[in-house]
């Protein structure tokens, strides 16, 4: 206080102000003495942008008010950026936001990338930033589904990139559909009209679920509906351009869950122009077996698909994993691998039908066996000799 009252350059009014300020500072800070004295000393000599930034970094008293011309403000900003201290950069930006018009500030920030990113992040944090995707993001804050749908509809007019625009359009269409399906199914379920809802009550609403979950739902509850209805799998597939592979996987999961093995079968069956049927799949049959097995498919169903696996070794290993005896026996028979059959005979129950089947094959005429086909010799002999060692 001594210094203050003895300074001739200060008017009485500002003297009072300064005194109260210093008193205040002394009140709320515990080690303020140096600062206060410095504040006083610098009251007459201005701080350069560099000094100001340094003081801000050190948490000392500073003042931004005297940076009034645009040039001074920008010098200060550039100095803050040079100091690599995000905290100070943001502090300067807050001051510029208060003291510059939006247009001018943005015009200057365009050429200052680091400062711009700080500014955008700050605005984002205080909830003022409304960039394109952020506006779309706001739909997450809308709880009511009808309002959310309307919000998304509103988003459709935003200038997204063509790709993103498609996705936002999809999002809107999806929610629109889900609202219709949800209303309908809720009503059907509570009225108790459809067996499927009684047998498998819905665990959750379909609102706001992803497209694939919606498709799964539709394959589960609305299988076999005509293409025209919004809830039919075919319609969803078409509307959202779902790939064959994706459609098959989802559908397979849903039908297998319901143990509708006939539907599963139909998924893979194709007819050629002569009327012959053939099973085809856009993904490997070993994967199909996996999925079926995870849904607890019985051996009778599984083995049909194990049989369709092309790679012989993979087929045998899958068959062994899931105990499809017939597939194994038949495969060895077709490979004419007597050795493996004998080994396998040791692994099945003596009284079982599999045992009898192996016996039958083995006792068949020797002519049937002949030489092991050279194509498979190398492949089969190695594991079989290894197995013998184990015995």
């Amino acid at each position: 206080m001594f210094y203050v009252t003895h300074n001739p350059y200060i008017s009485e009014h500002s003297e009072k102000l300064l005194t109260s300020l210093i008193l205040y500072l002394l009140d709320c800070r515990w080690s303020v003495h140096d600062d206060v004295i410095l504040l006083w000393q610098d009251y007459v000599s201005d701080w350069t942008p560099e000094e100001t930034v340094k003081r801000m970094q050190q948490g000392k008293v500073y003042s931004l008010e005297k940076f009034r011309s645009l040039q001074d403000k920008l010098l200060l900003l550039d100095e803050a950026v040079n100091a690599h201290d995000g905290n100070v950069i943001t502090a300067v930006l807050i001051y510029l936001k208060k003291s510059l018009s939006k247009e001018i500030l943005f015009r200057e920030l365009i050429t200052r990338e680091i400062a711009l990113r700080h500014y955008i992040h700050y605005l984002k944090e205080i909830g003022e930033q409304k960039l394109l995707l952020m506006q779309y993001r706001d739909h997450l804050n809308v709880r009511d589904e009808n309002k959310r749908r309307d919000f998304l509809k509103n988003c459709l007019s935003f200038p997204f990139s063509p790709d993103d625009a498609t996705h936002v359009q999809d999002h809107y269409t999806l929610l629109e559909r889900q609202i219709i399906i949800e209303a309908n199914d809720k009503q059907v379920e509570s009225s108790g009209q459809a067996d499927i809802f009684k047998k498998y009550p819905r665990k959750a609403s379909i609102l706001n679920m992803p497209i694939i979950t919606t498709l799964y739902y539709s394959c589960f509850y609305h299988y076999g509906e005509s293409d025209g209805t919004f809830s039919s799998p075919a319609n969803i597939r078409k509307t959202f351009r779902i790939s064959d592979k994706q459609f098959l996987l989802t559908c397979l999961g849903a039908r297998a869950k319901l143990k509708a093995w006939f539907d599963v079968d139909a998924l893979f069956t194709t007819k050629n122009w002569l009327g012959y049927t053939k099973k085809r799949s856009p993904i490997g049959f070993h994967r199909i077996v996996d999925i079926l097995q995870k849904n607890n498919a019985p051996v009778q169903v599984l083995q049909d698909y194990v049989n369709l696996v092309e790679d012989v070794e993979q087929k045998i290993s899958l068959a062994q994993k899931y105990k499809c005896h017939d597939v194994i026996i038949n495969t060895y028979r077709d490979l004419k691998d007597r050795q493996q059959l004998i080994v396998y005979r040791g692994k099945v129950e003596r009284s079982s039908s599999e045992y009898r089947k192996i016996e039958e094959i083995l006792s068949n005429s020797v002519r049937l066996w002949g030489e092991v086909s050279p194509r498979y010799r190398s492949r089969i002999c190695f594991p079989s000799s290894k197995l013998n060692l184990n015995h």
């Binding site: 690599h84 995000g86 943001t90 955008i120 996705h167 992803p210 694939i212 996987l249």
Partner: protein, 706 residues
């Protein structure tokens, strides 16, 4: 050398009472004293020179004053403990091949004392509100009892909801986040509207931001609330791991481009430098590293320099975005795997009931104190089972010793060995339980196939198959983060996805996991984790040149050839240059690893650790010009200039290297560095903004919650 004694002294404390204690310490082992004030330092150094106690280290730290009885009690407590444990021989048995680590528990005490001081600034009973993610770090520093001793009445977690406290004084211990400060403003303004008078104090950790204070001002409560800073920069998680516990560092800096934590990193480094330095050499790579380094230098220049013997010689700073591939790989080293599956939080893991084979889950501290864990943490998971079963057999033998003992032997056995054995038994069964549970989880989700895909991506082999594997992963709606992880790995290793693949995979991803992930994709793109190859960016020049020479038809074919050329990414080039991906046809013995690749089953040497190895070997970046060019530069190697007089100490400290990861590091990387340390006779101390893994890293990119 192991640091045994730490003293916190005040000039007011009676010195005579320490004299006999000091003599005892000195006679037993060399120690370190930390003195909290100048007068004390002078007295101490006088004492040391009188008694020629050269091994006592004196440091001067500015820390707030504490209440006197507390200090005396603590010092006495210490004296008791220490004197009991000094039965060992004179400890100069420092092994030449591996210098001992400095003692970092001092950092905890510093933080604790400052916190207590800050709490005392609001005298009287008060309720304390703690930011959710500060709770675990706080727990490592000061337990509830300590807080209660300093007039903390009730403890609450910050939940951004209206509060129910009846206390007249509220203290908030928070991170400097706008959202939390906004909540406090709401609390205070609600009180005001209600006509209720309370005193409020906000303690920001590790520092406050102007943006937060500005918010207080805007909301009209500046002045009603006092603010303070708890400079709790560094939390030692283990002997060789120190964390800043700032997981948001990664997103804030690398995604948002906000440099708010740069100075924090510099200050953390400054703290380490002033306690364990002076550093003699600083290496680094990355823009953020460079800025943090400069910030630290500035702070060094601002403060005063003291000549001291260094405990840490060299420092290596590295930005996380120098190597984003490594944290995205599945971890297969025990500690990393535990982190991936159970999530280690602040050095502590919660094992669920199927691990503990009881009906409760148990919280377990995972660090070098756990003797069983300490032996397996760095091992490849395939080796762990064998080790544990061997250990179990040994334990059985030790138990079996009981049979055929007479009463006296039995008595010694029970009093000396049994407790240790029991403890080991408990830990052993926990880790066996954890291994089994992890095994189960991993076999369920076809872990082998997943690893195979990852390795193919790293090797750049059968990329088409990898893409269809990822596609199927997405189609089956298996874990969203895993799908994203694989997509990012694909993009990083292939230097971006072909536009056609990018569109198709993005489309399927959005279909499977929700369209709002548009935001996630935009973030991933911004950060460069998942990008589209820019068609023609690298081709146009070559193409147009060649196009002039040949007719159109051949030019078409050439374009195909070039696009395969363009796919050769920086990662591939770096991989070749630094030999990151060992040849896959060689057998790799995981039991006796030959290089750091063992942490990824011999498939890949982490780029981050390889860089560290190379730079230390070359003592700089010479010869690595091409590598740094591919990594976007910003490398540096500076001699900080220390002239330690004691040659022995100097060389020892030279072999202690502090590696600071800006943006987080994984347990696998720490394991790799430990391996490197053992190979080269070095000791690494890892300082990281947070421990990370693929899930944490990718979850920080999500924007899809309201």
């Amino acid at each position: 050398m192991r640091v045994l004694f730490k003293l916190v002294l005040l000039s007011q404390v009676g010195w005579q009472s320490f004299d006999h204690f000091m003599t005892a310490c000195h006679g037993a082992r060399p120690g370190v004293m930390v003195v909290f004030n100048l007068a004390a330092a002078v007295t101490m150094s006088a004492w040391c020179s009188e008694t020629e106690c050269v091994d006592c280290r004196l440091g001067l730290l500015s820390a707030p004053l504490m209440d006197l009885p507390q200090v005396t009690r603590e010092v006495n407590g210490w004296a008791g403990v220490s004197l009991c444990s000094t039965s060992g021989p004179m400890a100069h048995s420092v092994r030449r091949d591996a210098p001992e680590l400095p003692d970092f528990s001092l950092l905890k005490r510093l933080a604790r004392d400052q916190l207590i001081y800050l709490l005392e600034q609001l005298p009287g009973r008060k309720d304390l509100f703690i930011e959710a993610d500060l709770m675990s770090p706080l727990d490592r520093i000061a337990n509830v009892t300590t807080l209660k001793q300093h007039d903390v009445d009730k403890l609450y977690k910050v939940e951004h909801k209206p509060i129910v406290s009846t206390s007249d004084q509220l203290c908030f211990l928070i991170r400097p986040r706008i959202k939390t400060v906004k909540w406090i403003c709401d609390v205070v303004n609600a009180d005001k509207a209600f006509g209720r008078f309370r005193r409020y104090k906000i303690i920001f950790s590790p520092q406050k931001f102007y943006a937060c204070e500005n918010l207080l001002e805007e909301q009209g409560i500046f002045g009603d609330v006092t603010t303070d800073e708890w400079s709790f920069y560094l939390l030692p998680l283990d002997d060789d791991i120190i964390s800043l516990e700032l997981p948001e560092f990664f997103r804030d800096y690398f995604l948002e481009g906000d440099q708010r934590w740069v100075r924090t990193a510099g200050s953390a480094l400054h703290l380490l430098h002033s306690v364990y330095g002076p550093f003699s050499k600083v290496y680094g790579i990355g823009r953020c590293s460079k800025m943090a380094y400069e910030s630290w230098r500035e702070q060094v220049e601002e403060g005063e320099q003291r000549a001291r013997q260094a405990e840490i010689g060299n420092v290596f700073l590295i930005d996380r975005d120098v190597d984003l591939v490594t944290p995205l790989c599945s971890q297969v080293v025990y500690e990393g795997l535990v982190d991936d599956i159970f999530r280690i939080k602040c050095g502590c893991v919660e094992f669920c009931p199927d691990v503990t084979s009881s009906d409760k889950s148990i919280k377990v501290m995972l660090n070098s104190q756990d003797k069983v864990f300490n032996e397996i943490r760095n091992e490849h998971f395939s080796q762990v089972f064998g080790f544990l079963s061997q250990k179990a057999r040994n334990l059985q033998t030790a138990y079996d010793k009981r049979s055929g003992m007479d009463i006296k032997q039995m008595k010694t056995f029970v009093s000396e060995e049994l407790k240790g054995l029991k403890q080991e038994h408990r830990l052993l069964s926990l880790h066996i339980g954890a291994s089994e549970s992890m095994m189960k989880k991993k076999t369920k989700q076809d872990f082998q196939e997943l690893l195979k895909t990852e390795h193919s991506l790293l090797e750049g082999f059968e990329i088409r198959e990898c893409i269809s594997y990822i596609e199927e992963h997405i189609n089956r709606q298996v874990s969203m983060v895993e799908s994203m992880r694989l997509l990012c790995l694909l993009s990083l290793t292939e230097n971006g996805l072909l536009p056609k693949d990018y569109r198709s995979l993005k489309n399927q991803f959005l279909q499977s996991y929700g369209i709002e992930h548009l935001l996630t994709f935009s973030n991933l793109k911004q950060l460069g984790l998942l990008v589209e190859q820019q068609p023609g960016e690298t081709l146009t020049v070559m193409e147009s040149r060649v196009g002039k020479l040949v007719n159109d038809k051949t030019a078409g074919k050439l374009t195909d050839a070039f696009s395969s050329l363009a796919k050769k990414s920086n990662f591939r080039a770096l991989g070749r240059r630094l030999n990151l991906v060992p040849k896959s046809d060689e057998e790799y013995d995981l039991r006796v690893p030959r290089d750091m690749a063992y942490i990824f089953s011999g498939a890949y040497i982490p780029l981050s650790c390889k860089l560290i190895e190379q730079v230390l070997e070359r003592d700089g970046w010479t010869g690595l010009e091409e590598v740094t060019r591919m990594l976007n530069g910003h490398e540096f190697a500076v001699t900080a200039g220390s002239n330690g007089s004691d040659a022995r100490v100097k060389t020892d400290s030279q072999r202690i290297i502090l590696v600071m990861f800006l943006g987080g590091c994984t347990f696998s990387e720490i394991s790799a560095l430990r391996f490197l340390g053992r190979e080269k006779g070095l000791k690494f101390i890892v300082v990281t903004t947070a421990i990370t893994n693929s899930a944490r890293l990718l979850e920080s990119m999500l924007d899809n919650h309201a």
